[in-house]
Symmetry: C2
Subunit: 486 residues, 2 copies
């Protein structure tokens, strides 16, 4: 426990900085903040604050630095790896009130916004200029750009347009000791070390972002989507490879399996074929001629790859309906069981069939149903494991199974995260992905930018002394539960 | 001077690692390595070595670490900011013999190559698969991918395809103490801190890259170029803004002024109109229908922006001829005077006219001719200042004038580098771009990954104690030489 005197000093200091209504102290005020989008982890912070501007953020950080109080920064709390899980002896710094669009520069195609601005609010604000902000996580209506930066968020369009790191030009950051840093620049390159890219995906451990300049893109003239059904997942996976090999880079390319299809159909009535083993939802965007030309090619490839049916959205209404199913796949699957666990890993496209078959094996072995929803184009898997947290021991089984899926991702040359980050959720898999030498370098960088270890301590990078233990654990789990063909 | 005993120990150790022919010791052996592509800086290294594989690189680094000998890593030596200037008491680590293409994976569109592989050799090796590596610096026939990483190299196509940092997936790196690190991954995202992006552009100061996995792109079906002439540079600049505003992202968009046009024409006979105040060279690539559609739009915009003439390359021969002029602009301008100094800065597109007019003023004031060659689409300027190094004091004048151009880039919201890096050349401008707090963070990161300061010491990041002095100097220069409208 933090000494009561520290909490008193912190509270007194905060009251000098913020109106009392923005300092949360009581049990009931703090409860809504005890978890992020991964509610299997819960913790109550010492205190929570909702600053209204960057100066307040800076003053709060300076105060915490003086008192050596840990800080967990939180955006909208939609993260899926417990990256924003509060620290019991720390302050929860909630950024949602920093929600102003500061500048839009259509000539240079940039927008500068405060860190708490919602992802979708950026695209809405720049729409009158014919522009949009490309990364579009499923939570885009709610999630904040600051949280997107913390986790290097992606979305269904990142195959073509990249992740957050590819779409942010400049960051205003407060360092742990309260210094203000301007990182990156208006151009593609900037001088000095690329600390801006280093900050993106660093889960609030290297600094607190207050302001962001993002790159905007012109809204494509034409957008067209096609829905293809397959009688086997392997065929659908092969179709993805064939499309990519043909030199097409779709704006989005999603794969869903039967369980996900039926759940989405029940929930959203998207017009998906319930009898398919897999569907691909592919979107093209660009000029009218471009899209028409590419859609002809895509159609030919889907047919020659064995698609059992193929439907091009007749109009914008049908296109949005196709996406409505995909975008609601998670809550739709959520209705199939009391709880679900959304995994996130990336594999080389060529390994799709192998990894899917492994997941099926695990599903049978553990007796847990899995729905698969993938960003297929960039090899980003999202297996959703269905379970019931009220059955004792079941959550542990799910975590064990999830760990084995991630280990498989590493084994085929992939990574343990595609866009959700490591947070607390995948910290045990980090030593499977990285050597002690690599983990040591991560710690060195953390030590360089946060020497007192106050910014989101304990997330993302495991302590070196635990790495050997986590590796041994993964080996034990795998050998205790041998699979038929493992 | 390094104590002779250190040199003797180093030499003895190197002879255990490498065949003698790959250890360069004599004055005449070392002379070719005394500078990189910015020959106004010259220095002889203590010794130079040409290792043949990653194990030798690792052993050499370990040896230097034990003996505390500085290491400057050098690729092909084509860098333009003296980033590979040798250290008089250090080892020059020349990577050109690590020139093997290790793997090509057409399914996942990646190639893995050793760090000394030439940029163009990658595209040549993957051409049979219909793929290419996008970043294409002017020196691409000679420069190495390792050097590209050190400087985060760009090229004429980076407006559409990005810089090196946007096209590299994974790095194998030897840290200063000889540990091997694998950074990044096969997917877009990877877990932990983004050290891979941090290493790119870090000028060999944070580790030595031995192996690189790059992202490949499908060769576009159609490539078409148009050459537009303008009677004023302002009009040409406005045309660039109009094209970008229309939502077109050309594969390349270059601007040259009269002096550069005439020099290129004399040298390469590219068919450029000698009477133009500026030309734009614009290239579109993609599917046939796409390119045709976009070219119609580009043509209309160029005309409405006041182009005095407009020529679309009839065939591949003429297209390559257009580019031949641009790609040889530097050597062509080089014939106009005994020496030239190539600047590199980036500005917001909207500031083009203002900065160009400032450069003209400086040109008159200093009595030095300037040829302008720009990556106009991304605001990356390359003013070439003509001079004669044999005239005492003229190099100092050029450096002063160059410094003022860079200061102007910062003043309009740009940066002091577009793609050439800081090296030694622009170290005095760093404190104009960055605050002490930011420079301190750079040093903290350097200290974290190279605690003994052996990797390319003295480049890129100025010592804090010099920052105030450099800032004062810039102010003095500017106030001692007031411009008419400055």
């Amino acid at each position: 426990m933090a000494e009561p005197v520290v909490k008193q000093k912190l509270l007194a200091g905060l009251q000098q900085i913020l109106p009392r209504e923005f300092i949360l102290n009581s049990e009931e005020q703090l409860r809504p903040f005890e978890c992020d989008g991964l509610p299997v982890y819960r913790q109550t912070p010492l205190l929570a604050v909702l600053p209204g501007n960057a100066d307040e953020v800076k003053a709060i950080i300076k105060l915490c630095y003086e008192l050596r109080v840990p800080i967990v920064t939180r955006g909208a709390g939609t993260g899926l790896s417990a990256g924003a899980l509060p620290h019991t002896e720390g302050l929860l710094l909630v950024m949602t009130r920093l929600n102003r669009i500061l500048a839009i520069d259509p000539d240079n195609r940039t927008a500068t916004v405060q860190a708490g601005v919602r992802n979708l609010a950026i695209s809405e604000a720049v729409a009158p200029f014919g522009l949009f902000y490309a990364p579009d996580p499923s939570s885009q209506i709610a999630c904040s750009i600051g949280g997107n930066i913390a986790e290097n968020a992606g979305g269904v369009h990142c195959l073509k347009y990249g992740l957050t790191v590819h779409n942010v030009l400049q960051l205003k950051v407060i360092s742990v000791n309260g210094a203000e840093l301007l990182l990156g620049g208006s151009g593609l390159d900037s001088a000095g070390f690329n600390l801006q890219a280093l900050l993106i995906g660093s889960e609030g451990m290297l600094g607190v972002v207050t302001e962001v300049t993002v790159r905007l893109l012109p809204r494509p003239q034409t957008v067209r989507a096609v829905l293809a059904a397959f009688t086997s997942i392997d065929q659908a996976g092969q179709a993805v490879s064939n499309i990519i090999a043909a030199g097409i880079i779709p704006a989005g390319l999603e794969l869903m399996d039967t369980l996900a299809i039926c759940a989405a159909e029940d929930y959203a009535g998207a017009g998906y074929p319930r009898d398919a083993a897999a569907i691909l939802l592919l979107e093209l965007d660009g000029g009218e001629a471009t899209v028409t030309e590419q859609m002809d090619l895509v159609r030919a490839i889907l047919n020659s790859s064995g698609a059992s049916s193929l439907r091009i959205a007749r109009d914008e209404t049908e296109r949005l309906r196709f996406w409505h199913g995909r975008k609601n796949a998670f809550p739709a699957v959520g209705r199939l069981a009391p709880d679900y666990y959304c995994m996130d890993g990336t594999i080389p496209r060529g390994a799709l069939a192998e990894v899917l078959s492994y997941i099926s094996q695990l599903s049978r072995e553990y007796g847990l149903r899995v729905a698969n929803v993938f960003h297929a184009g960039d090899g980003n898997l999202h297996p959703l494991i269905l379970f019931d947290a009220n059955i004792p021991g079941q959550l542990q089984l799910v975590e064990e199974m999830g760990g084995r899926i991630l280990a498989k991702c590493i084994a085929v040359g992939g990574t343990i995260t595609g866009e959700h980050g490591v947070g607390l959720e995948k910290i045990r898999q980090m030593p499977l992905q990285f050597s002690d030498a690599e983990i040591s370098q991560f710690h060195a960088v953390k030590q360089a930018l946060d020497p007192v270890d106050l910014l989101n301590p304990g997330k993302n990078i495991p302590l070196l002394k635990h790495c050997q233990e986590y590796r041994a654990l993964a080996t034990t789990v795998a050998s205790n539960r041998p699979l038929p063909h493992d």
